[in-house]
Symmetry: C2
Subunit: 346 residues, 2 copies
Amino acid sequence: MSSDLPSTESAAANPLLVEVTRGGQVESRHRAALAVVDVEGKVALSAGGHERPVYARSAIKSLQAIALVESGAADAFDVSEAELALACASHKGEPRHVETATGWLARLGLSVDDLECGPQLPGYEPALIELLAAGGAATQAHNNCSGKHSGFLTLAKHLGAPTAGYVKYEHPVQQRILGVLEAMTGLDLSAAPRGVDGCGIPVIGIPLGNMALAMARLGAPDDQPEPRQAACARIRKAVAAHPFMVSGTGCFDTRVMELTGERALIKTGAEGVYCAAFPELGLGAAIKVDDGAGRAAEILMGRLLSHFGILGEDQAAALGGLLTAPVLNRAGLTVGEIRPAADIPF
Amino acid sequence: MSSDLPSTESAAANPLLVEVTRGGQVESRHRAALAVVDVEGKVALSAGGHERPVYARSAIKSLQAIALVESGAADAFDVSEAELALACASHKGEPRHVETATGWLARLGLSVDDLECGPQLPGYEPALIELLAAGGAATQAHNNCSGKHSGFLTLAKHLGAPTAGYVKYEHPVQQRILGVLEAMTGLDLSAAPRGVDGCGIPVIGIPLGNMALAMARLGAPDDQPEPRQAACARIRKAVAAHPFMVSGTGCFDTRVMELTGERALIKTGAEGVYCAAFPELGLGAAIKVDDGAGRAAEILMGRLLSHFGILGEDQAAALGGLLTAPVLNRAGLTVGEIRPAADIPF
């Protein structure tokens, strides 16, 4: 499908920002670009080339959820705060995640069969073992995106649109979301590069700077219409109140937001993307690791949280191994670390 | 343990050799270095900086197995051809792999408890599901390195050394292997950077060029002592006869060597390393992807196999999606591809 694509430019090497050590030397190296901007689009911090369009993947689920709330769909179907947080999640398929999704679908008069995200085994190993040992199997409700898709189905029903095919670019649900993304990024996205995400929905190429602008506006949407302002506030509150729903046991997003509450809304995405809103500061952030490594994106997000004072020293200490992560062997011994590179510019 | 390490040099950007597309654009990019050398150490092909020491990880299990064979340990304990192939494996924990390891251990008068590699769930999803659905759990026999460790235990017993602690750098088993690596790489490794592998054994920093030289000699060991020449031939034959043992169902190493037989001995390692011997050509190869991505190392190894004519057009066609790999979403649809970058120099 894409073999006639222009190849990537080899000259534009982004800076080396994260390295992985093992014993006596650096073993692997990650290059990345990032942008932190205010609600006017002014760049507060950047590294690497942040003009190139990037697929945000799951890192902008909170922006996609705006359409669910501002349309009135969430109210019409009594979407709870925990369910709204799950709509913004890449969850680990733990029982509470799966039960929340299936309960929501039942209230819509729908079932797991209506989800078009494909099945996935739980990402949290104890939940995986429990599921399979009980004779269970991967379902679409276990898919890390099942909450987002439940939100899409809610919106489809509210709009009176067919629920089947809600993942397609042309479907009213995805077109509504595209409109929200255009307003929040300040871009006409009709001709932007696009593709299909792991869960079947469209992905749209957006420069990191504009992605960060959209996140800044999620935190401080004063220039947006009133229903959108209210939707952003409701989403921020839901995520802060239910950080477990957004990811899962021991995960970076969950553990950080348990400490920060509404001071930070952070969200990981596939292929090394990370987005954040820092509402108190009126800033938004977007990171893309060149090679797609989530382990490097996490280290960079941790560094941003410390740099901007979102995490104090005590909180950083409480997070311990998440900010400079140990590399463990299978016996559980520390054999190296994942850390910011020495010449990281922040 | 390593926070006082010198940081990586940021200037030395290796060339961009592999890219991952999704829909209308390149999504992620992988830089790498590689060297292909002959048995004299003459460079036949290279890219990037290949002088920097690199941990070979699991990519040199065939070199480590030389000590098992040349010492007489393999003969003393009736190690079969399939078991010898398993000693060179990063296997997927499928039933045949696990049964082969446990049968071998029983013949030594040992058990899974003597393996010091740590437990690991099977890497092949149907085997994982089968194990857990039957009420089973991850054991050290399922660890992808259980064959290598069974070989280490065999050598320990043959040397009359304690079996406990066989993973330690100072243990006679690891010292024997270090001696083999020095002879094959042509380096004094006593002061080389070192660390601990995922399975607990030492890893030693070796420049890619010397790693490739050792692999060339594995394929054509004419300058080595006769017992080592015989050991190399026996290892090559074992791996070629039992490619399933070396990896598993559908895996790159297994599927390639099912086609090439003794014309290529290829082996993947963690953190984006790949090694190969091409005995007919008298060449050895070593690849390291900067960021540690195995998906990129596979694409580069496939390219080398085609470039040097190890895979003919028909064989390359039979491998199909392994040489330019599709990116699939959870519904199984192709949404992108992993492919050599346009300006790859071979």
